[in-house]
Assembly symmetry: C2
Homo-oligomer: 235 residues x 2
DNA sequence: ACAGGCGAAACTTTATACAATCTTCGCCCA
DNA sequence: TGGGCGAAGATTGTATAAAGTTTCGCCTGT
């Protein structure tokens, strides 16, 4: 009777169908199947999931609040297109929050969690070996979310979910080269530090991991609104 | 032409009426006019604002995402009732984020911002002198939001808005004594440090300010679900 | 040939109607 | 008298229809 009346994890209410829509669209965006700027028509999505526009709209509004969908009045919903400024903010926030999260994860370490982390690492390696880029991208984000869940802090978890989703779009837009799923080795190092309950090392490894990801980005500074035009032309 | 097509600050789309509803309810909660657990009926609110349930529902869902309203399936929306665990998480997050924010604010200092901060301090003092508890509570939160706006980081600002709103509920629920609006003096000290561009002092003052606020709370740890019963009886 | 404007189509926004669910109150029975 | 069953009322969840806005094509005038 402890966890009965608490459907409060992330989405307070929402019928199951709204959750399905939201998670479906989120997964598509995180796996880079939906590209920034893509129009997300209400009828279109509603037909796919067999739901009316009311539910689609609810899901899209939630995604807009998470920052991965941008809703323009009287024009509809689109996959968000983070600016370089957004990207810098997202990674600064991650550099601030994630070391703290991993520190809490060290405090919460248990055989069950170690098992889950190891399982995740092997999933990541398997997807990478299989050359499944979409799964690799998704799992790479899931690793960070897993640690946030492990920390037990629901607020940090909520914040991080948002940051991870935005990061996925940012990486897609601004990565220099088509470097493969970069982080699996770093992830393994972090897990090792967590297992040893070495918070200091875990924090440091997380921080350098984030720095390396950001270092691979090319965040061109828009001289003026010139950039906005160039972006539209590029799409 | 710079800030024309960017309704993106916090609420991505939403017609003006939804904004009005959301801000009206938010203000009522932040000013402690709506107490935790209060039922927020859709028809009731809709009639007050002259809007249909569709718009009310949109606003309530946004507030639920911000954590100050809790929506229970088939039962409706209520003003959220943060648990002591929630309270600890909120203040831990604030201790992590706000010193960083104030640091950025120091970098962004300008005569215009100093004027705004001074104006805000005088507003706070005036409300306190007037004995207007509601305005004091609201302004106390606005101070932190103002600094976040000053920092120019939209992500931190969004996170902090959420944390401030939840803090207001937490303080209402768990404050030990009816201490008056505690922070005006601390706020003045922070402004002074910002004006001197002394980031180190500003960070330290912000941190101790948050610690003092949390120290005034009595976060009783629920032995079991015993607490939940007590809460309901108290309401 | 091209710029400007008119008009229809598609879409979003808002409102309303219907269905499902929960709460409440009254009644009956033990 | 206390508890449980059940129907009425109220409230939310969902779908559909009406209203408003944008967009795109086409047509006309220069």
């Amino acid at each position: 009777m402890a966890a009965k009346s608490r459907p409060k994890s992330d989405a307070p209410d929402v019928s199951d169908r709204v959750i399905r829509i939201r998670e479906g669209v989120t997964a598509a965006i995180l796996e880079h199947r939906l590209l920034p700027g893509t129009k997300l028509g209400e009828d279109e999505i509603g037909e796919i999931y067999g739901a009316s526009r009311t539910l689609v709209r609810t899901a899209l509004q939630q995604l807009a609040h998470e920052g991965i969908v941008s809703i323009e009045k009287n024009r509809g919903a689109f996959v968000a297109r983070p600016t370089p400024a957004d990207a810098r903010e997202v990674f600064e926030a991650r550099r601030l929050i994630e070391p703290t999260i991993v520190d809490h994860a060290v405090d919460a370490v248990s055989p069950t969690w170690i098992d889950r982390l190891q399982q995740h690492l092997s999933d990541e390696r398997e997807a990478e070996a299989r050359g499944d880029a979409r799964a690799s991208v998704r799992l790479s984000g899931d690793f960070h979310r897993l640690i946030a869940e492990m920390s037990g802090h629901s607020i940090y978890l909520g914040f991080l979910k948002e940051l991870i989703a935005r990061s996925s779009l940012i990486i897609l837009l601004y990565r220099r080269h088509d470097t493969p799923a970069c982080g699996t080795d770093h992830h393994a190092g972090i897990v090792t530090a967590i297992r040893k309950r070495d918070g200091e090392t875990a924090r440091a490894q997380m921080l350098s991991h984030l720095n390396e990801i950001e270092a691979e980005l090319f965040l061109k500074d828009p001289a003026e609104d010139e950039l906005r035009l160039a972006d539209v032309l590029g799409a």
